[in-house]
Amino acid sequence: MRVFLTALLLGALGLPLLALEPPSGLQAADTPNDEGNSLTISWDKSPQDQGDADRFKGYQILRSESQEGPFAEVGFAIGGKTEFRDNVEPLKPYYYRVVAISPEDSAGTAAVGPALATAQWFDSSRANVLILTVLICFLIIWYIERAKRGEELFIRKIQGLDAVDEAVGRSTELGKPIMFSFGLGEIKDIVTVAALAILRQVAVRCAQHGTELLVPNWDPLVMAAAQETVQQAYSEPGRPDLYKEGNVSFLTSDQFGYAAGVDGMMLRQKPGAVFFMGYFYAEALLMSETGHSIGAIQIAGTTAITQLPFFIASCDYTLIGEEMLAASCYLKKDPQMLGSLKGEDFVKAFLIVGFALAALWGTTGHLLFKAGHPWMQGVFQAVKNWFVTG
């Protein structure tokens, strides 16, 4: 009766019936797959950590270089968390304590340790990426080698690239310049390197026809590469005299400033053909709709999936994703480069078959799981987890 009354009294006063307990199972271990500069501290939740922030605040992480202390706070994990990553010096022993904190009380664990942070020579969480990369590279190189032996390879027609000559020819007939934009791509983007191959083709045709080529740039490094490409391309048909450095110029590194600059050039100089090749963001539609309004023939190519619908709506031809990256192979028709495309197609076919089999396996596994046979779904989950986490 006395216990019941005490409990009732404490409850009425809003005081906790049980004393705060510290977290259990505290462990401090080296963080796997890192460069050896962090330790992972883990624990099991305190019994009072029930997800109510008013009653339980979280865990204070204390660290010391000796078991006896002094311990200093190195971090705080809110209630519900059971792990904390602490940045430390490599190969130095550290000891940890974790203190559960509530508004009224605190309760800490005993010190654990020593824990040493060590670096790993292989990131095992990326084993899946390594295996797939090796497999894909092997298949592509194998097809390149087959192409080297003189095997005949077929490549389907890519209308957007076939239309390059048509666009340059039409501009020449109209006596109008041609414009080429890389968008907001940087030179380290692979799509910009692919766009340089198309620029080279366009510049060669412009030099052959004596048509002016305008290349406004957003990135000065891309501008330098474009200047070299165009200058070299003008030399190929023996017309280096037609190259004007001022036509391949820098505009601005501001996204909408660049769009405004390109739009202004289009409205003033009325190019007969406009090429949008590279990586684009919101400026894509601003520029391509302006090009459409002046009646230019427009060819776009990008790997930016969000901008593809806009280009498809406003341009005459659009190179979708991988078509853009295949441009240099298509234009050069070099057997070795075509071999890499063949390898890419083989990997794609391999993936399609893999996805179909995985879907079939997963669906059957789910049906069997419902019927009380979990093994098939277990295998499916294991494979899926390997692809997700390595």
Partner: protein, 210 residues
């Protein structure tokens, strides 16, 4: 040798980047970050190239009285004005981003409204592009029109008021056929990027070595 040395640099750098992706141990673990820092430093210097190109081409247009030369004049004035505001702020304030500084005045009252104006134009351009794309001239265009109408109506409150079928259908279209097409393109781009990178590393793709 003019081509062999750049090709060797590309091969070695490409190989290092790939290998270090799988090795967290120092000094390889941070190699990729270090190379990106080098890239940023080079990029900083190339801004000078950009400024040179910008000023030279626009001064030439003014000197030759090319069509639209007053725009070039506005650009030069804007460039020099911003530069002067930046230098003045740098000399007199703690930071270029200090509130109330002349540089922040230019940024707040010139650059931001100009950017916002250009971005706002997108609404009109989307309308004109959508009008052309959705004209039901072929079976495919008609399907596109119907799909777009369902998605647009399903994404606004009035859609659910008309019928619960609209938001449900819009979600299904976005989550199933749209997502499948998008992932198809993503996979194609990823494989294309791997193949293109291999061509660059192996020296088959040399367009950048003009």
């Amino acid at each position: 040798m003019k081509k062999e040395i750049p090709l060797a640099i590309t091969f070695i750098t490409g190989l290092i980047i790939i290998v270090t992706f799988f090795i967290p141990h120092q000094p390889l673990g941070t190699m990729q970050q270090r190379l990106l820092i080098w890239y940023s430093i080079v990029l900083g210097f190339t801004m000078l190239l950009g400024m040179d190109s910008l000023l030279r081409s626009n001064l030439q247009r003014i000197a030759r009285r090319s069509p639209g030369w007053p725009f070039a004049l506005v650009l030069i004035i804007g460039f020099l004005g911003t530069l002067a505001a930046g230098i003045y702020t740098w000399a007199t304030s703690e930071s270029l981003l200090s509130l109330g500084s002349s540089f922040m005045y230019v940024y707040t009252y010139f650059i931001i409204p100009l950017q916002a104006t250009m971005f706002s134009l997108l609404a009109f351009f989307i309308a004109s592009a959508a009008y052309r794309a959705f004209r039901a001239r072929t079976l495919e265009a008609t399907l596109l029109l119907i799909t777009a109408a369902v998605v647009m109506l399903g994404r606004v409150p009035i859609g659910a008021e008309i019928s619960q079928w609209l938001p449900d259908s819009a979600s299904w279209i976005m989550e199933v056929p749209q997502m499948a097409a998008k992932r198809g393109i993503f996979i194609g781009v990823a494989l294309g990027t791997i193949a293109m990178s291999l061509r660059v590393i192996l020296g088959l793709e040399r367009t950048y070595l003009t």
